[in-house]
């Protein structure tokens, strides 16, 4: 049988793209990071204010997003950023587009940090948290400028300091749920 005839037979029996998507595997991993993002969104409303220290409040969605960005690949980080922004915006019922776009873009950029840092190192999450916080809030500020810019950035910087304190134990915990990808798998475009 010629090659063209083999191709013809293959295309005829190839399953629907949706079937192929369902059977592609890796849904367990997807469910885990989705669960982490949802838990962070719930925790932000209930516990963030209770854990306030002076002017600093934690930002659980950004911490989780930074850990996911550095442990997975840019595609997963983009989706996680999208979901994080969407959940946060839904609870606030304001700046919906700005929150989604800022988190998506920031998470995608931070997901490329493992090109410079080793994701296996326990300190690598700290620059990820710093970069993600500044990028996400910076894009949010550009898209939806706050009336009082100084108060916005003051709150952001204090929140970033708090997030740095929680970053390492959070990353340790998240690694148990979403194990880090191997470096050679993360940036292959056929992954």
């Amino acid at each position: 049988m010629s090659i063209s005839q083999l191709h013809y037979r293959y295309d005829r029996v190839q399953p629907h793209w949706f079937t192929r998507l369902l059977l592609s595997g890796g849904w367990g991993r997807v469910a885990r990071w989705v669960l982490l993002v949802v838990v962070a969104a719930v925790a932000q409303g209930v516990w963030a204010n209770r854990l306030r220290i002076g002017m600093a409040t934690p930002d659980f969605p950004l911490i989780v997003l930074a850990c996911l960005a550095i442990l997975t690949n840019p595609n997963t980080a983009a989706w996680a950023g999208f979901l994080t922004g969407l959940l946060h915006a839904s609870m606030l019922e304001q700046t919906v587009g700005s929150l989604i776009i800022s988190r998506t873009l920031a998470a995608t950029v931070v997901a490329y940090l493992p090109l410079l840092l080793s994701r296996q190192h326990w300190l690598s999450v700290v620059p990820a948290v710093i970069a993600l916080t500044l990028l996400a809030q910076g894009i949010l500020y550009l898209a939806a400028p706050a009336v009082a810019g100084s108060a916005f950035w003051q709150g952001t910087l204090w929140s970033m300091v708090y997030n740095i304190g929680l970053a390492i134990p959070s990353c340790w915990l998240i690694q148990r749920i979403v194990p880090p990808e191997l470096d050679e798998e993360s940036f292959l475009w056929n992954n």
């Binding site: 949802v38 969104a41 719930v42 925790a43 932000q44 409303g45 209930v46 516990w47 963030a48 204010n49 209770r50 306030r52 409040t57 930002d59 840019p74 595609n75 983009a78 989706w79 950023g81 999208f82 922004g85 969407l86 959940l87 915006a89 839904s90 609870m91 606030l92 019922e93 304001q94 700046t95 919906v96 587009g97 700005s98 989604i100 776009i101 998506t104 873009l105 995608t108 939806a144 706050a146 009336v147 009082a148 108060a151 916005f152 003051q154 709150g155 952001t156 929140s159 475009w189 056929n190 992954n191």
Partner: protein, 269 residues
């Protein structure tokens, strides 16, 4: 394979579309079904987490503050007795008021209905300043209802779902309320504006108005959105704006936004 490179771009474009759609719905006074659905999923989880946290806090408070609680209990009993006497006196006054109104052929004022609520979620980051309460349309709460907490005006209901409502705090950006400054010499009218930070800007005070640090600020009740005489805060700093020829002041809010647990929301028509 090339499509995977542009996942972030596709998602960002989708976010932009969702944002435009949301603004379109809000501008027409309609609910965004997507965000309402997500809130319907997240809020029960937050409610459970809040209940669990409250239970744990009360358990530890019982252990550590029992002695203080007993003392507070005695003080509250005494205060309760005094308040009961005051209530009886006010009831008598109300009866007299009603009979006088009947005499003057006035329509009886509809009583304002305030219902207690718990604050389930708090978002205090600058520019957000939002809380979520556990009263919604099912309890008679509508969008635009004022919310008070302890010492003063907390904010207004922005979106009322079935069992919960989103309350925009007075300190949130683009929030404004007509206010009056309770100065001993003269009462002045202005506007208290939220700016996304922990203080309010008192604006449009006439330059000749006698304004002093420490003056109390309350709602003026103009426009009918907020009831009059609800405490807003205390004047902290005053200056004169030459550009607009008005006096302005920073106002420290009466409500302690960091310690919110319960509030009152007005049930409206």
């Amino acid at each position: 394979m090339k499509r995977r490179r542009w996942t972030w771009l596709t998602l960002a474009a989708l976010g932009l579309i969702l944002g435009v759609y949301h603004n379109h719905r809000v501008r027409h006074g309609e609910v965004n079904p997507l965000t309402a659905l997500i809130r319907g999923l997240i809020l029960p989880l937050q409610r459970s987490a809040y209940s669990a946290t409250e239970g744990a806090e009360q358990f530890f408070a019982t252990l550590t503050q029992a002695h203080q609680a007993l003392r507070d209990h005695e003080n509250l009993l005494l205060e309760n007795a005094l308040l009961k006497q005051e209530l009886e006196r006010l009831k008598a006054l109300e009866t007299e008021n009603e009979s006088l109104r009947n005499l003057l052929n006035l329509r009886a004022q509809l009583p304002n209905e305030w219902v207690g609520c718990r604050i389930m979620s708090t978002y205090l980051q600058p520019g957000q300043q939002t809380v979520i309460i556990d009263r919604g349309v099912r309890d008679g709460v509508l969008a635009g209802a004022p919310v008070v907490a302890g010492d003063g005006l907390l904010g207004v209901v922005e979106r009322a779902d079935k069992n919960a409502s989103i309350v925009r705090m007075l300190t949130a950006p683009r929030m404004a309320v007509s206010a009056k400054v309770l100065n001993a010499q003269k009462i002045s009218i202005g506007v208290c504006e939220g700016r996304g930070e922990n203080r309010l800007l008192l604006n449009f005070i006439p330059p000749e108005a006698p304004l002093q640090v420490g003056d109390r600020v309350a709602t003026a009740g103009l426009g009918g959105k907020y009831p009059p005489n609800l405490p807003i805060g205390v004047v902290e700093q005053i200056w004169y704006d030459r550009q607009y020829s008005v006096k302005k002041a920073w106002v420290r809010p009466a409500v302690d936004f960091e310690r919110l647990s319960v509030a009152l929301v007005k049930r409206g028509k």
